[in-house]
């Protein structure tokens, strides 16, 4: 197998973790339940469903525009806790973000089904660490 072009810049253990994470470069939340490549199905401006490139079954999702959601709702609407206010780090509820995303668009059957799937995927009581200074 060819050497990965970034192999000189990484170290430590590599192991898949099925846990949502906030990507500050894309201002988005990413969640995959299995370590398989995905085919993206864009539902609306906010939600994209990830389908397995092997089985085509839904295996996760991406929520875009997290900063806009937080700005619209205010921190009180999504914040779970803020341990390090001085460092501008807060924890937001994944479910609250998903709910706000759903409420922001038209109530079509297609959206409802897609968001239902995302809710069913989501681990319960999950909070994500994000930095509001990136918004």
């Amino acid at each position: 197998m060819e050497k990965h072009f970034l192999s000189n810049f990484v170290s430590g253990k590599s192991q898949f973790v099925a846990k949502p994470w906030y990507n500050p470069h894309g201002d988005c939340i990413i969640y995959r339940t299995v370590d398989e490549e995905v085919i993206a199905e864009r539902i609306d401006e906010i939600l994209t469903i990830y389908h397995s490139a092997i089985s085509e079954k839904p295996i996760g999702f991406q929520i875009k525009g997290v900063g806009a959601i937080v700005r619209r709702l205010g921190l009180a609407g999504v914040e779970v806790e803020c341990e390090e206010r001085d460092k501008e780090i807060m924890h937001v509820s994944l479910i609250a973000i998903l709910l706000a995303a759903y409420e922001s668009g038209p109530k079509t059957i297609g959206r409802r089904m897609a968001y239902t799937g995302a809710f069913e995927f989501s681990p319960r009581q999950t909070s994500l660490q994000i930095s509001p200074v990136t918004f």
Binding site: M1, H4, F5, L6, N8, F9, V10, S11, G12, K13, S14, Q15, F16, V17, K19, W21, N23, P24, H25, G26, D27, C28, R32, D35, E36, E37, V38, I39, A40, E41, R42, E45, I46, Y50, A53, I54, Q62, K64, G65, G67, A68
Partner: protein, 136 residues
């Protein structure tokens, strides 16, 4: 080893006939993929290939975030699971997303549009503009 961003030379989507610019694979981003998403880390190779050999470039990829770019291409191979490399399917296009600062933030397959197999489905409604097309 200090944190090192990896730079890839790309067509400047703001000036497609001008000098090339650098897209950024941010250290924190690729380290996150390396540690927790092995197949996505492996497909950074695919993302780099598409950035270097794009077939379409789109501007304005987000409603809620200014700017942003999408480079699409057709790699010959890609990883579908860790260490499992297969032929890239004909009905898909590989899309690589850069933010306004040219930081890579997403790379994935999408279904091809009916009118142009090198564009993602519904590209007319999703992006602000098609800014560049490969002529080869």
């Amino acid at each position: 080893m200090p944190p090192t961003n990896y730079l890839v030379e790309i067509i400047n989507p703001e000036n497609v006939n001008g000098p090339k610019i650098k897209a950024i694979f941010a250290h924190d981003f690729y380290l996150q993929l390396y540690k927790h998403s092995p197949v996505k880390y492996q497909n950074l190779e695919t993302a780099r290939f598409v950035l270097q050999k794009p077939l379409r470039i789109f501007s304005g990829v987000r409603q809620f975030n200014d700017g942003g770019w999408c480079f699409t291409g057709k790699p010959k191979m890609w990883y579908v699971k860790e260490d499992v490399r297969v032929t890239f399917p004909e009905h898909l296009v590989f899309a690589v997303y850069l933010n306004a600062a040219f930081n890579l933030y997403e790379a994935r397959a999408e279904r091809c549009a009916n009118d142009d197999k090198l564009c993602p489905d519904d590209w007319q409604n999703r992006y602000k503009a098609l800014v560049w097309k490969s002529t080869s």
